[in-house]
């Protein structure tokens, strides 16, 4: 029998609406699962069980009167700890923010509550979402491997079932990276679709708040609940209602040469080629589309992100620099040294790519660009290189950024959907589309998901054994 914690967002919301499941019952099951997994997972930094129970009770009282606030009525969710939730700590994974309590909800959290969500607590992040340091969250597939970042707690909690969906933030891949590593679906929405007020920014230009869930349907439901009405109208209305709307014919662009330059390893390549065969069997046309311009995105993204980060952190660093991790500090210090000419060049590249990529896609008649999400499976945590500015290897944050940052730089939506395993570790397929085509990239992802078995591998029900030394 399926326990309530195993349900996805859409399924649980449907049962609550039909009064087959209460919000209190769902929350109780999720909290039990959290208590049963957290010794392994270490995904949470703060759990507000009492506040969540009050909210769930209220949701049930409203449901009894036939009142449903929105599509997320009674659904418990987790929030990355760089996003404010009123009355809860926002510490951003940093000693410099210990004891900081949010006075108000971030815009996206406010919108989730408007749509009926129950906020259970805050999830682990790398310090200030920079990807530096080692949060305690464990990869549910292998305790010795990197668990993703910087929305690491969001990925791990959703994967182990201690929450059905979570918010992350994505400056250069930090939603899609943990989604890929943990076997989940993660979306970086179109720029501006989701409010980023009340978020500890790395970069206001590059940061996007995005959903992580266990299926495309759940990811879409969560996105719909995050977006304010005006932005939802710009997206063409609720994306959940349009997951069956594929363009006819659906053409997808791939640039295999750049995958090779990005150092994509054979196991990941095999999984992605199999996924392309599935998409072709579904009637989609896969076309080779050379886009070396994609490789401009990494350095332009880093220049914009780090220079803006220096501004965001200047005041706090002036009195608390000793309580930052050295790795985070070095990144921000580098940002303080970025010259005006370098910033101008980066913005010029951004302007160019924002115009060029959608036009190149339109010329080729493709609805999406498909690639691996990451060049390799999750490396051993001890081998993971967190430097952003260096060339890095396939196990580096820079390598992940190189593949994913074009979406952040251009504002285009990008989704990572599971496409199999390599050496027992999940592999993600990345689909990027023009701005405001979030529903289309999710529709392509769902068509693939429904044709393959990968969705059934999460939640991870049995945690791996931990070596005595860990």
């Amino acid at each position: 029998m399926t326990e309530p914690w195993e349900l996805g967002i859409a399924e649980a919301a449907g049962r609550i609406r039909r009064r087959e499941l209460s919000a209190v019952e769902l929350l109780g099951s999720v909290v039990d699962r959290l208590n049963n997994t957290e010794d392994y997972a270490h995904a949470w930094v703060f759990v507000d069980e009492r506040g969540a129970r009050d909210a769930a009770r209220l949701a049930d009282q409203q449901a009894a009167k036939g009142q449903f606030l929105g599509a997320l009525h009674g659904i418990p969710l987790g929030v990355k700890d760089v996003i404010d939730v009123r009355g809860m700590p926002t510490e951003g994974g940093s000693n410099s923010l210990r004891g900081n309590i949010a006075k108000d909800d971030a815009g996206v959290v406010r919108q989730l509550r408007v749509n009926g969500a129950v906020i259970l607590g805050k999830l682990q992040t790398h310090e200030f979402a920079f990807g530096q340091g080692t949060p305690p969250s464990r990869n549910p597939w292998d305790p010795e491997r990197y668990a993703g970042g910087s929305s690491v707690g969001s990925g791990v909690a959703v994967a182990v079932g201690s929450i059905p969906g979570a918010l992350g933030t994505d400056t250069g891949g930090s939603v899609r990276n943990p989604a890929s590593v943990n076997g989940l679906v993660g979306l970086k929405p179109t720029a501006g679709a989701v409010s980023s007020t009340g978020v500890l920014h790395v970069s206001h230009t590059m940061d996007h708040v995005g959903p992580i869930a266990r299926s495309v349907e759940d990811c879409a439901a969560l996105l719909d609940g995050m977006v304010e009405p005006e932005a939802l109208a710009r997206l063409g209305g609720p994306v959940s209602a349009r997951l069956g709307d594929l363009p006819a014919p659906t053409r997808l662009g791939v640039d295999r040469r750049i995958w090779s330059e990005w150092g994509v390893v054979p196991g990941v390549l095999a999984a992605v080629e199999n996924a392309l065969s599935v998409l072709a069997d579904l009637g989609m046309e896969i076309v080779e589309l050379r886009l070396p311009e994609l490789d401009l995105a990494l350095h332009a993204s880093v220049a914009i992100s780090l220079s803006e980060a220096a501004d965001h952190h200047r005041e706090r660093l002036s009195h608390d620099s000793g309580r930052y991790l050295p790795g985070t500090r070095i990144m921000i210090e580098t940002g303080a040294l970025v010259s005006l000419d370098e910033v101008r060049l980066a913005w010029k590249v951004r302007t160019h790519l924002r115009a060029f990529l959608p036009e190149a896609m339109a010329r080729a008649g493709v609805a999406g660009l498909v690639s691996p999400t990451l060049p390799a499976i999750a490396p051993p945590a001890s081998a993971m290189s967190s430097e952003l500015t260096g060339a890095g290897g396939q196990n580096s944050l820079a390598a992940a950024l190189r593949m994913l940052s074009a979406a952040n730089l251009t504002g285009m939506p990008g989704v990572s959907v599971p496409c199999g395993f390599a050496d027992g570790q999940p592999v993600g397929l990345h689909i990027m589309g023009p701005e405001y085509s979030d529903a289309t990239v999710l529709a392509i992802a769902q068509a693939y998901e429904l044709a393959t078995p990968w969705r059934t591998h999460v939640p991870v029900r049995q945690m791996p054994a931990i070596a005595a030394s860990q």
Binding site: L296, H299, A303, L306, L317, S321, P326, L337, L388, A391
Partner: protein
């Protein structure tokens, strides 16, 4: 006016930041932390500059090759 940092014994002789740049960092994080971070910052900054040179050259090549939006 791009003099390299005037280092004392706590800071190695192979510094690459100019004195103006080091002053920016000192103002940002304080003198002690700035000195502590200097070797790693120089590596990161050098990598960053290399990346920006690559970007400039690649962007010029692509745009001069007639790749226009």
């Amino acid at each position: 006016m791009n003099q390299t940092v005037d280092r004392d014994s706590a800071v190695g002789p192979e510094a690459e930041l100019t004195s103006e740049q080091f002053a920016v960092i000192r103002e940002l994080v304080g003198d002690e932390i700035a000195r502590e971070d200097l070797p790693a910052l120089e590596t990161a900054y050098r990598d960053f500059r290399t990346g920006m040179h690559e970007l400039k050259s690649a962007f010029e090549q692509l745009t001069h090759a007639g790749v226009k939006p």
